[in-house]
Amino acid sequence: MRRSTRLAVFAATLAVLALVPFVVPGYPTTLATEMLIFATLAMSIDILSGFAGRTPLCHGAIFGVSTYVLLYYVTVANGNVWVGAALGIAAATLTAMIFALLAVRTSGVYFLLLTLALGMVVWGVCLRWTSVTGGENGIRGTVRPAWLGNARVLYYFILVVTSAMTAAMWRFVRSPFGLTLAGIRESETRMRALGYDVPLHLFLAFTVSGFFAGLAGVLYAFFNSFVSPSTVGLEQSVEGLLMALVGGVGTLFGGLVGAAIIISLENLVSAYTERWMMALGLLFIFTMIFAPSGVLGRVREALAGNGKPRT
């Protein structure tokens, strides 16, 4: 896709998103806010799975750690919300670094399982360390500052932050570092032979991905004013991964597309039937069999098939 076309697509998307609170105020705006938050999470997962070739099942935990820290800091420790946000993101990044240290030497299915186990450890801590995390009760409290109290203002705030973060992520994956990651995804042995320090690259990729997941976690705290063990649980990691997969791994924006599809589907399906889980499962199956490269992946393949070089 040519750069100018791409810019046009971005601009159009941004314009559409900016109009949401005017065209569909109320509940759909709330949904759109959620979509943006989870899009950030899905994109952070994509940095690792799409660009570095390592599929993780722990990003729910990383995301939720940030939410927990922020909510704890403001409601229990009575701290400032922005300091709390910084702490949350730091905690998430630190968690990602610890996970990365343990996981960089594995790949494929083992990486998946290892990250699953690590996510479970975090979940277990959040569930049982009742004195700090509130255990089954979670932590509740409105942490977003008063000027973000209005739903519309909150939406725009999150839109601005998400756009900035998306731009940052995009720059990251297109940087020389990001291209090295793509090379690692294509063939690890070749990159090693070429002299690249693969474990270091993976470690950094994981850490960066954790940073963005942590950021999404902070936005979630603003939006939800509540966190419980579900937020760091396996289901959250699975849903985040599914969003990245359905949208298209390795495309980055697939995260946004995937989040939009899944959240819309959830609300649509739930309006008529309770069988949302089955719809999600079928979507997973369908994607794996017929569209493993996801929606944007298919689009990209179709465009590439027109003979134009992939940029």
Binding site: T55, L102, A103, R105, T106, G108, V109, Y110, L112, L113, L114, L116, A117, L118, M120, V121, W123, G124, V125, L127, R128, W129, T130, L234, V238, L241, L245, R275, M277, M278, L280, G281, L282, L283, F284, I285, F286, T287, M288, I289, P292
Partner: protein, 285 residues
Amino acid sequence: MTLAAIQVLNGLTFAALLFLVASGFTLIFGLMRIVNLAHGALYLMGGYIALSTAMESGSFALAIAAAAAAIALAGFLVDRFLLGFVKGHELRQVLLTLGIALCLNDLALVIWGGDTFTVPVPEALRGAWSFAGISYPRYRLFVLAVGVVVFVLLWLLVNRTRLGALIRAGVDDAETVEAIGIDIKRVFVGTFMLGAALAGVGGALGGAFLSLYPTADSEILVFSLAVVIIGGRGSLWGAAVGSLFVAMLATYGQVWFPELAYFVIFGPMALLLAFRPLGLFGRAA
């Protein structure tokens, strides 16, 4: 003394159940390199089917048989019609089984509802048995016995039969086995069905003392994963040792370090995966 004895039995009997479920998982993982994340859902389905069969027919034995047969069939369908599409793509297979797990779980919810059920057991297995100064549930001892018997049978199957030899050869090197002219696909399907059946039987037995409810599948799956990772994929001894390890940790951990209960199980699993992914008894492909 009494407390210690009871706790040991608690761990052993839970280990027996875990072994039943994890042995199926490890066979599939070891031979077909498939991490079957639907294994927990197969366990739960097996349990529900046993529940309905037992309630309709009044026979516990029939319930177990029905669970085994039905889930073996489910395994066949999954392998033939779904996994077949993503052959050769490990990650896709895993994620596909995740989707299957979600569907099966919801299907069970539709059919049996959200209540918690317990598979009814025959009178002879109810209540406690008093021996050596302690009282212990008969049923849990029964599960322990079944676990041991299944271990022996599986060991014989894998080490003393032709099929077992094929499975072992397939775990070591599937390509070569195929090159010799043996239809490895049949072995694969058979193994998948056996693994699934074990999960189903696990559900039938587990459903009687741990009860059946919509999230039981992910709980047992996560335990099975821990067992297989710690014990090593494709290894029966690994599944047995892994089950003992995980069960004892769960039993003692629950009371001694309730705050760290999950950490105590997943911590070792994570460490093993990081430093010795093959586990205690697994062998490199």
